[in-house]
Each structure stands twice: as structure tokens, then as C-alpha cells.
């Protein structure tokens, strides 16, 4: 009975996510249509004759009504065809593949460092709350968040690439690179991202657990003679999972979607840089494709957070 209810709730979340993604695709498409400028004009340049422009428009289907163009685009996307980039006439899906993988690799490395570290620091801050350790952790985390990522990035380059020469200043990666070399190449951007997202996750972990620590069952645990860390780990943590997962997912989304600046600083061939390059070239199909992928990542991760929150709730898992 419980599992049927859970499955229904999860199915609802999934359906909602898909629906949302379609709504976002409409917004992205509409947004790029509103942008001033004409695709044909930007391909052919200022010197193009009216006849040539008209021919290209017909060829690209630009004269069709917007909704037909939307469904044509959507149909392509659903079959894995994002169209061709206007600027260099290359297949977008193909170019995206490698870049998406690079971005996910960088985000994954940053997540592997930052998520456990943030939760551990959050637990420590609760255990020694209002003491020196708590304040030191909070101070460090807040300082690292307050500094803009380009500043942290250049600072890291100055010390670790220029002075100490441990890591390269620009994170060039290529297909034939070994895993170890790849890790070394992305070490600095990964650390930069970690410092940016750490504080938020750590502070939220601390707040979520402290909130739970007010509960009567924490007093029960104290009166059983459990140690402070056992109380936090066994009794507070399981009830703080949902809010913590929520903030972790938001930050994971940021690691993938918000890396634009970091990728530019470290000249890393990921999605962010790809997007920035093509925005400046007014390459609408690429912007649409990247926007849609970012939206999918965002919605997907938030959906996971929702589903974890459902699964973490014993009242839903085990109804009366």
C-alpha cells in the first residue's frame, strides 16, 4: 500500500518535470524569437542581396509561422537533432556531446569534493555550535562565497600555477588525455567551484540540523546518554535529509549551469564557454540548444531532490 502511494507521488513528480520542461522549451523558443535581428541577415552579412536573403529564408523555413517552426525544432530535439550552428555550419548535437561531457566531468569532480566536505563541516559546526570551530568554519565558508569566482580563480592561478607551478593555468583537455592528467588539468577550476558552493550547502546543513535539534526526540536521545555526535548522526541527520538534499541539488545544478565564468577564466572547453562564444556570434540554434540542456539539468536535479524528500519521509513510506 505504501509503495503504491509512493509510486504515484513519484510518477506525479516525473510528469510535472516533463511538463515543466516543455513549458521551458516554449519560453526558450519564444525568447530567441523576440531577440532583434534576422538569422538570414546575420548568416549572409550586410552585403547580401534581397533575393539571396529570401532564398535562404525559404531554405531555413524562416517564413513559416512561429508555431510550425517551434514544433519542427522540438521534433528535432526529441530525436536528438539540435540543428546546425549558424556560425560554422557544424552539427550542434555533435559539438555539444564532448562539451557536455567536459562540463559534467568538472561539475562531478567539484561535487565529489564539495558535497561530503560541506556536510561534514555542517555536522562539525552543529557539534561545536557557537564555539570557535563553528565560527571558524562559518567565517571561512562565508568568506569564500563572498569572493567572486573570477577573483578566487585568478588568485588560485597566481599561487598554484604561476608561483608554485603545481597545476596548469589553463585547463586544456583533449580526448587522448589520461585520467590523471585530466584531473590535474581541472584541479584549479574544480577547487574554485568548490569554494563557491561550499558555504551555501554547509550553512544549510547546519541550519537544517539545528532546526531538528530543537525537537523533543533529541532530548530523548540526550536522556538516553548518547554522545553528542551520535545524537546528531543517528537522530538529527535522518530528519534533516530532505532540506539538505534540496540545497545540494540546487548547488549541483549551479555547478553545471553556472560554470560560465569559471570555464572562461580557465579556458575550459565546456558548455559555458560554448554558450558564451555563440551568444556573441548571435548563433540562435546553439543558444536554444544549450538553454534547453541547462533547463533539463536544473529540472532533473530538483526533481531528484523532491523524490528523495518523498522517500525520506517515513509517513509516506509507511502509511498507517
Amino acid at each position: 500500500m505504501g509503495s503504491a502511494l509512493i509510486l504515484r507521488l513519484i510518477a506525479q513528480r516525473l510528469a510535472l518535470g516533463v511538463l515543466l520542461l516543455f513549458a521551458v522549451s516554449v519560453l526558450i523558443f519564444a525568447g530567441t524569437q523576440i531577440l532583434p535581428g534576422d538569422v538570414a541577415q546575420s548568416i549572409l552579412g550586410q552585403a547580401a542581396t534581397p533575393q539571396a536573403l529570401e532564398n535562404l529564408r525559404r531554405e531555413l523555413g524562416l517564413n513559416d509561422p512561429a508555431y510550425i517552426r517551434y514544433f519542427r525544432w522540438l521534433g528535432g530535439v526529441l530525436t536528438g537533432d539540435f540543428g546546425t550552428a549558424l556560425s560554422n555550419r557544424r552539427d550542434i548535437a555533435e559539438a555539444l556531446g564532448g562539451r557536455l561531457w567536459n562540463t559534467l566531468f568538472l561539475a562531478g569532480c567539484a561535487a565529489v569534493i564539495s558535497v561530503p566536505l560541506a556536510i561534514l563541516l555542517g555536522l562539525l559546526a552543529v557539534r561545536y555550535r557557537n564555539g570557535v570551530i563553528d565560527k571558524a568554519i562559518s567565517g571561512f565558508a562565508l568568506a569564500s562565497t563572498s569572493l567572486p569566482e573570477f577573483f578566487i580563480g585568478y588568485l588560485l592561478i597566481l599561487f598554484f600555477a604561476v608561483e608554485l607551478q603545481w597545476f596548469p593555468a589553463s585547463s586544456t583537455v583533449f580526448d587522448t588525455m589520461s585520467f590523471g592528467a585530466r584531473l590535474q588539468a581541472i584541479a584549479l577550476p574544480a577547487i574554485t567551484l568548490t569554494l563557491v558552493v561550499l558555504a551555501h550547502m554547509m550553512r544549510m546543513t547546519r541550519a537544517a540540523i539545528l532546526n531538528v535539534m530543537q525537537s523533543a526526540y533529541i532530548e530523548t536521545a540526550e536522556l538516553k546518554g548518547l554522545s553528542a555526535f551520535d545524537i546528531i548522526r543517528r537522530h538529527a541527520m535522518p530528519n534533516a535529509v530532505a532540506p539538505i538534499v534540496n540545497v545540494v541539488m540546487l548547488n549541483l545544478a549551479y555547478l553545471i549551469v553556472g560554470v560560465v565564468v569559471v570555464e572562461v577564466i580557465f579556458v575550459y572547453p565546456g558548455m559555458g564557454q560554448y554558450l558564451v562564444d555563440h551568444v556573441s556570434k548571435r548563433d540562435v540554434p546553439v543558444v536554444q540548444a544549450v538553454g534547453l540542456i541547462f533547463a533539463a539539468v536544473y529540472i532533473g536535479l530538483n526533481m531528484i531532490a523532491d523524490i528523495v524528500a518523498i522517500l525520506a519521509n517515513p509517513r509516506l513510506r509507511h502509511p498507517k
Binding site: 523533543a216 540526550e222 536522556l223 538516553k224 548518547l226
Partner: protein, 558 residues
């Protein structure tokens, strides 16, 4: 060598003699009153007590008397920043204060705690069994297998249903009365020397309370554990304690054996506690025309899926009180919601002062709203904390009568006078008032509208007995002066006896007994009314056993 004699002393101490010896205990806390500087208050002042092995000491007093604080001090625990600043707590022959590491070893092993609300005291994320045996395993008292076996035995002793499997359930899957017994099993599991019961039955229905009380008493007797039993209900503590200590404002008022305290109290305060609820209220005969008639009302939640009221018909007569009694979930408050229009009935009609009331609140004219007022259980949350008492009481005067300025202020002062508080309170905020004063302000607010009927929803349930008594007397006086009728919802039968002219007994959404007070409270009873009446603790040693053996029907909470 040194180990040997100490062990012998401890073993000797475990047999008989003094288990807990609290000497000149002083406990303080820092409070932060609104708009004032933080100040130090003494919560417990020079209290000394001893508990013998296997004996039960009842701690009784009103809220703020320091009962729970003293109880928790036996575990060296100060709730919410409370500090033990003086005295000694000697447990098993050693002073436990000031040794944080030692405290952790004794909590859950030598002393265990049973909280008022087991529903909040269990971790919602873990199965019951895991929590029940946790302290036993933490302190290495026994293996997991043995601990679980003992837990199942205790579940059986405490007459929990399905004792083998109830441990596999989560807290939310078990009723409040059952959880309270599981918590008692949890406290007993590690074979402690002392258990602190902190109002373990206060939050339960009267019919459930008696079962839990009997189970706790039996468990104490069978295991030979000593206990501190904390409650504000003298009749309850009289059933389980060997001795009783009466506390007030953190000081000892009287300490003696149970029979002496109940039958021959020496101090005036104890006498007042023993004789509480001695309001004599003669019932009035029904008038020919009722002010409110509820006619065959049926109501449900979730669009007809969950029927919460079935075919209920009652009359309320002008200037009289109808008491609606029943346990939680019986539909008492739902009846009030139907009458106020918050839950439109599915069928049936409600007639008020000769006219039929619209089903939905939104369809009722202002005049209907004015004549039908409500007072709630939680006075705290029924008032805006950022408004002064004068604004709170003045609001209905503005809203219904358009009073302004001096006229309004004069009327507010008059109303404050009626509730025996004086106009000096008009500029105070709710946070500055005591629980009883807050409820008085809510009464004044209801009266300000000059209603013909006031619905009182458990208005005295959250108050201490003596304060509650004062509120009931006030309500009766106001009724005589203003000729207002009350629909009085309560689960407390002593309150009903004190205030009602007629009584409606509800059970699972249905009316099981209804009529004038004298008739309803006179045998022969139906099975449920009998259960309800016989479950009310009486201030008499040995009442519990008599009541349990005379019962005809099991409580629904079982």
C-alpha cells in the same frame, strides 16, 4: 584492591535504602521578558527530597512549580538553558552533578525518562524497536537479542496489542496511548533504578489515560523500579504514588504519604488543590424556545468520504450551557465547526434565534456573526501578539457597533472590569499576561460583541486546575449577568459537572446520550457513558483498581 570494597558498598546500596537524595536543590534560569533587560529567576529554591528503592514519589503542582525541572535534575539535565546552581543530587550513593561524562553513563542506564508527549519524544525516522533498545545497547547492558526479547516482554506486560511485532512499526503508525506505553517500555528496558515520569498521561483522553495509568502502575510494581511521578492532577498521582510532594513556585509546600496528603492535607494550598472543582451549579430547566437548534446534522470531510458527524440533533436554551463531551475524534469540535459555518453540513439544518442559519460562513450576515462568538483552547495563538489588550477587545466594538475613541475605550474598561482585570491592562501585550489572564481577555473579546451564544472549545484544558476553576466561575457569573448561552466543548467531566445545564455525550461522530445534566449523569448508563464517567480519576486511594475491574467496555484508543 580498591575496586572490591566500593563494589560491595554499591551492591549493598542496591538492595534497600535511599536511591535518590536531593539536598537543598537550587535551579536558576535567565529569562528575556519582552521590552525588559534579561533577568535571573529562581525556578527551584531549596528543595530536598529522597526516594527509596522501589518507591514512587509523586511531584505535584501547577505549571511553573518546578516539577519537571526537579525531575530532570535527577539526571543532571537542565532543559533549555536552566542551570543547577546549588545543592546536591545524590544517586546510588554519589553526587552526580558536575561530572558531564559520568552523567552520560547514568542517563538511560540508572535513570530513564518518560515524556509527556511520547508522540514528539520518538524519532519519526526510526522504528520503535530500534529506539526502545537503543539505551540498553549504548550502555552495554545486554546484547541486542536479549534487549529485544526484554522489550517484547515489556510490551506484553504493558498490554500493548501484538507485542511481537509492534516494534517494527514507526511512531506515526501507533496511537498516542500506545506510544506512551511503548515509551514506558523504553524506559524500563535498560533496567534502570529510577524512572522519571513527566506527566505521562496528561495529553491522553480520559478513557485512554486510565489504561495507561494501570499499565504504568503494574510495570512499576512488577519490575520494582523506583519512580518520580510528575503531574498536575492530584487524583492521578494518588493512584500510583507512595508519597506525594506538593510544590509551588519552586518551593516545597507539603511532603507526606499519599493517604495523608489526600485525606488530611495540612497546608491551605494543598487543601485548595484537593477540593478543586467544588463548584455547585444547579441546572436550569429547559425553556420553551431554544436559542439554537441543531437538527439532524450530518457532516463529512473530503467531499463525503469521511463522515465526522452523523445525524446530530441538540438544543441550546437561552442563558444556559450545553456541555458536549467525548474523547478526541468524537466530533465535538466538528459540531462547533458546523454551527459556525466553517464546515457546511451535508444535510440537516441549524436554527438560531428563530431563523435558519446559512450553511456556509460566507453567506451569513454580519448580525449572525455577531451573535455567535467563539473562545478557543489556546488563548496564546487566538490573539495577535502585536496588538494590545485594548486593541484586541476593542476590535469587535469597532467592527460590530462602529464605536470609536472615548466611547470605545470606556466600553473596553468596562469589559476588563467584568473579567476582573481592571483597565490598567488595556495597554499590555498578550505576552505579558499569564495563561488565565489571556483566556480572560479572549472571554472579554467574545462578550464585546454582545452575543447570544458563545462556543467555548476546551477553554480550560490548557490551564492549571485552580486557574481553570476561576475561569469557570467567571463564565457562570457572566452568564447570569448577560444571559448568554454557552456551547461548552470539553473532555473533562469534572468541568461538565461544574458548568452544564444539559449534556451531550458524543462518540465517533454520533450522539450517544443527551439530556438535562441530572438525567445524563444518573444511571442506568449506556456502555460508553459508563466508560467515560468511570474513567475520570477520583481523589481516592485505590480508585484505579476498582474502576478497571468494574468496566464494561474497552476504550477506543486501545
Amino acid at each position: 584492591m580498591a575496586e572490591q570494597p566500593r563494589k560491595k558498598v554499591q551492591e549493598a546500596a542496591r538492595g534497600t535504602g535511599t536511591l535518590l537524595d536531593i539536598r537543598n536543590l537550587r535551579i536558576e534560569a535567565t529569562v528575556y521578558p519582552p521590552g525588559e533587560d534579561p533577568k535571573n529567576v529562581v525556578i527551584v529554591d531549596d528543595v530536598s527530597l529522597t526516594v527509596e528503592r522501589g518507591k514512587v514519589l509523586g511531584l505535584i503542582g501547577e505549571s511553573g512549580a518546578g516539577k519537571s525541572t526537579i525531575g530532570l535534575s535527577s539526571m543532571g539535565y537542565g532543559r533549555g538553558g536552566v542551570r543547577i546552581t546549588g545543592g546536591e543530587v545524590v544517586l546510588n550513593g554519589r553526587d552526580i552533578l558536575g561530572d558531564e561524562r559520568g552523567l552520560r553513563k547514568l542517563r538511560g542506564k540508572e535513570v530513564c525518562y518518560v515524556a509527556q508527549s511520547a508522540a514528539a519524544a520518538f524519532n519519526p525516522a526510526h522504528k520503535l524497536m530500534r529506539q526502545v533498545v537503543e539505551a540498553t545497547l549504548e550502555h552495554g547492558v545486554s546484547s541486542r537479542e536479549e534487549a529485544e526479547k526484554r522489550a517484547v516482554d515489556l510490551f506484553r506486560q504493558l498490554s500493548l496489542p501484538d507485542p511481537e511485532n509492534i516494534g517494527d512499526r514507526y511512531p506515526h503508525q501507533v496511537s498516542g496511548g500506545q506510544l506512551q506505553r511503548v515509551m514506558t517500555a523504553m524506559a524500563l528496558c535498560s533496567k534502570p533504578d529510577l524512572i522519571v515520569f513527566d506527566e505521562p498521561t496528561t495529553a491522553l483522553d480520559v478513557t485512554t489515560q486510565i489504561d495507561v495509568l494501570a499499565a504504568i502502575k503494574k510495570a512499576i510494581r512488577d519490575t520494582g523500579v523506583a519512580a518520580l511521578y510528575i503531574t498536575h492532577d492530584l487524583a492521578v498521582v494518588a493512584q500510583v504514588s507512595d508519597d506525594i510532594m506538593v510544590l509551588r513556585h519552586g518551593k516545597t509546600v507539603e511532603w507526606g504519604d499519599t493517604r495523608q496528603i489526600i485525606e488530611k492535607p495540612k497546608q491551605d494550598y494543598t487543601k485548595a488543590l484537593v477540593s478543586v472543582h467544588a463548584i455547585d451549579h444547579e441546572e436550569h430547566a429547559p425553556t420553551p424556545v431554544p436559542i439554537l437548534t441543531v437538527d439532524n446534522v450530518t457532516a463529512s470531510y473530503g467531499g463525503g468520504r469521511v463522515k465526522v458527524l452523523r445525524d446530530v440533533s441538540v438544543d441550546i436554551h437561552p442563558g444556559q450551557t450545553l456541555a458536549v463531551v467525548g474523547e478526541s475524534g468524537s466530533g465535538k469540535s466538528t459540531l462547533a465547526r458546523a454551527i459556525t459555518g466553517l464546515l457546511p453540513p451535508e444535510s440537516g439544518s441549524i436554527t438560531f434565534d428563530g431563523r435558519t442559519l446559512a450553511n456556509r460562513l460566507a453567506d451569513r450576515p454580519k448580525e449572525d456573526l455577531r451573535q455567535l462568538q467563539m473562545i478557543y483552547q489556546m488563548a496564546d495563538v487566538a490573539m495577535n501578539p502585536r496588538q494590545t489588550v485594548g486593541t484586541i477587545i476593542g476590535r469587535p466594538l469597532e467592527f460590530y457597533f462602529g464605536m470609536r475613541g472615548a466611547e470605545r475605550n470606556a466600553r473596553v474598561a468596562e469589559l476588563l472590569d467584568k473579567i476582573e482585570m481592571g483597565k490598567g491592562f488595556a495597554d499590555r501585550y498578550p505576552a505579558e499576561l499569564s495563561g488565565g489572564q489571556k483566556q480572560r481577555v479572549c472571554i472579554a473579546r467574545a462578550l464585546a460583541a454582545k452575543p447570544k451564544l458563545i462556543i467555548c472549545d476546551e477553554v480550560t484544558s490548557a490551564l492549571d486546575p485552580l486557574v481553570a476553576n476561576g475561569i469557570l466561575k467567571l463564565l457562570l457569573e457572566l452568564q447570569a449577568e448577560e444571559d448568554v448561552a454557552y456551547l461548552f466543548i470539553t473532555h473533562d467531566l469534572a468541568t461538565v459537572r461544574a458548568i452544564a445545564d444539559s449534556i451531550a455525550v458524543m462518540y465517533r461522530g454520533e450522539l450517544v446520550r443527551y439530556g438535562p445534566k441530572g438525567k445524563v449523569l444518573t444511571p442506568p448508563f449506556d456502555a460508553y457513558t459508563d466508560l467515560l464517567l468511570s474513567s475520570v480519576p477520583e481523589m481516592e486511594v485505590g480508585w484505579l483498581e476498582k474502576a478497571i475491574s468494574n468496566r464494561r467496555m474497552e476504550a477506543a484508543g486501545n
